[in-house]
C-alpha cells in the first residue's frame, strides 16, 4: 500500500477549494406562470377538432415535453396514425386555442419577485421552454424578465425535453457549465432533461405533478412554487446578501 503521500499531505498544501455560485435555468409554463391548465384545455380542443377525443389527465401528464414527442406518444397510446400534415395542423390548432386563453394566464406567486431578486443579486439565470416564442412572449413580459436574460424556446434547438438540448443551450448562452446549473421545472420531463444535461433538478409543485413523481424523476429538492423557492434560495447555493 502506498498511502504515505496522502497521509503526509498537510491541508495548507492543498489549493483552496472553490465552488462557484450556481446559475439557474428555468422552465416557463407551470414553473413561473400558471398556464398549464390553459395548455391542457387547448390541446384537448385541438385534438377534438381533428377527431381524437383524449382524457384530460393523459394530456396533463404530457405537458412540458415537446409537442412532437407528445404527438408521438399520442399515436402510440391511441393507435391513431397522424401524418405530417395532421401534425402541423394540430400544432397550429393548439397554438390558436392557447392564445385565445392567454389573457387568463397569471404569474405564479413569487415568480416576479424571484426574477427581480436574481437580477438584483447578479445571479445568472435563463429561461428554457418547450413552448414556441409566439406563446412564450406575453409570459416573459408579465414576469418582467430583463432583456439580457437568455430565452431558449423550442424553435431554437433540435430537440425539446426530455432531451437536454434546451438546458444545454441555455447554459451555453450564460457561459456556465451545465454541471454548475440548477434546472427549475414543474414536470417530470424537466427533471429528466436536467439529469441528461448533468445539472441538478429542482421541482415545483405548481404545474400539478405530485411531489413523489418529481422526486422519482430525480429532483434534488421540491418546492411548492416560485415563492417557496425564493424563501429557500440558500438551499440551491444562492447565499443571502450580506
Amino acid at each position: 500500500m502506498r498511502c504515505a503521500t496522502v497521509t503526509a499531505m498537510a491541508f495548507d498544501d492543498i489549493e483552496p477549494l472553490t465552488v462557484p455560485t450556481p446559475a439557474l435555468l428555468f422552465d416557463l409554463d407551470g414553473t413561473l406562470v400558471d398556464s398549464v391548465y390553459q395548455h391542457v384545455i387547448a390541446w384537448q380542443e385541438a385534438l377534438f377538432e381533428v377527431g381524437i377525443p383524449l382524457s384530460v389527465w393523459r394530456i396533463h401528464r404530457r405537458i412540458g415535453m415537446s409537442g412532437g414527442l407528445f404527438l408521438q406518444a399520442l399515436q402510440r397510446e391511441t393507435g391513431i396514425a397522424l401524418d405530417a400534415d395532421a401534425l402541423r395542423q394540430l400544432t397550429t390548432l393548439h397554438a390558436e386555442a392557447y392564445l385565445r386563453r392567454a389573457s387568463s394566464v397569471v404569474a405564479l406567486p413569487g415568480a416576479r419577485e424571484l426574477v427581480a431578486h436574481l437580477s438584483e443579486r447578479g445571479v445568472p439565470f435563463a429561461i428554457a421552454t418547450s413552448g414556441a416564442r409566439r406563446t412564450a412572449a406575453s409570459a416573459l413580459d408579465m414576469l418582467g424578465v430583463p432583456e439580457d436574460v437568455p430565452v431558449i424556446t423550442r424553435d431554437l434547438v433540435e430537440r425539446a425535453k426530455p432531451d437536454p438540448h434546451l438546458f444545454l443551450a441555455a447554459a451555453r448562452q450564460l457561459d456556465v457549465p451545465p454541471q454548475q446549473c440548477f434546472v427549475v421545472g414543474d414536470s417530470v420531463w424537466d427533471l429528466l432533461a436536467a439529469q441528461r444535461a448533468g445539472s441538478l433538478g429542482v421541482g415545483l409543485l405548481s404545474g400539478g405533478y405530485g411531489r413523489e413523481e418529481l422526486q422519482a424523476a430525480g429532483a434534488y429538492r421540491v418546492y411548492n412554487d416560485p415563492a417557496d423557492l425564493l424563501a429557500h434560495l440558500e438551499e440551491v447555493g444562492v447565499r443571502p446578501a450580506l
Copy 2:
C-alpha cells in the same frame, strides 16, 4: 399453554369458508366522468370573483374533498377569513361556473361499459360523490346508470370526504357491510375516506393525481381509468362470467 384444541381440530370440522363477492362504491368526478378540470376552472373563476386569486394546482389538489373542507383549507392557506355569506356565495358561483362548462364533460373511457357490465352481471354497486345532486345529474344520465343504483350526493350526508359518511351511506343503501366493498376513486380524499370506512380503495389515474400519491393514500390497486379497471375486474373480486 393450552393449544391442544387447536392442534386437534381437523379441517373437515371447520365450516366451509365463504368470501362474499364484493360490492363497488364509485366516486363520480374524475372516476367515471372527465370533469375534474372543469371543476378546477370553475372554482378558480368563483374565487377570482370574490377577490381571491389562487394557483390552479392548489385547487386541483383539493378537488374531491367536500366544498366546505376545501374552503376551510383555503382559509388556512391564504389567511383570508370567509364568513358564512361568502362561503354560500362561493358555493353558488362555483356551481354556476361549472354548469356553464358541463356540456364539455364526457364519460371517461370504459365508464359506460363498466356500468353496463356490472348491471348485467348483477354486481351490486353505488355512486358516492362530494358533488351536489344538481351538478351530478347530467353525468349519471351520460353514464346510463340504472334507476335502481343508489346515488349518495353531498346533500344527503352530514360530512363529505375524507370523512367516510358518503361511502358508509352507499354501503348501507346496498345492504352490504363496508368491509365487503371496494371504493373506487381518483383522489387522495376518496382513498382516505375508504380507509375510514373500512373498505379497500382502488385508485384511478383519470383524475390527474399520480400513481405514487394514490398509493401513499392507501390504494389497494391503481388503474389508469374505468376501461383499465374493467379489464382487471377479477383483481377486485369480480370473477369473469362462466
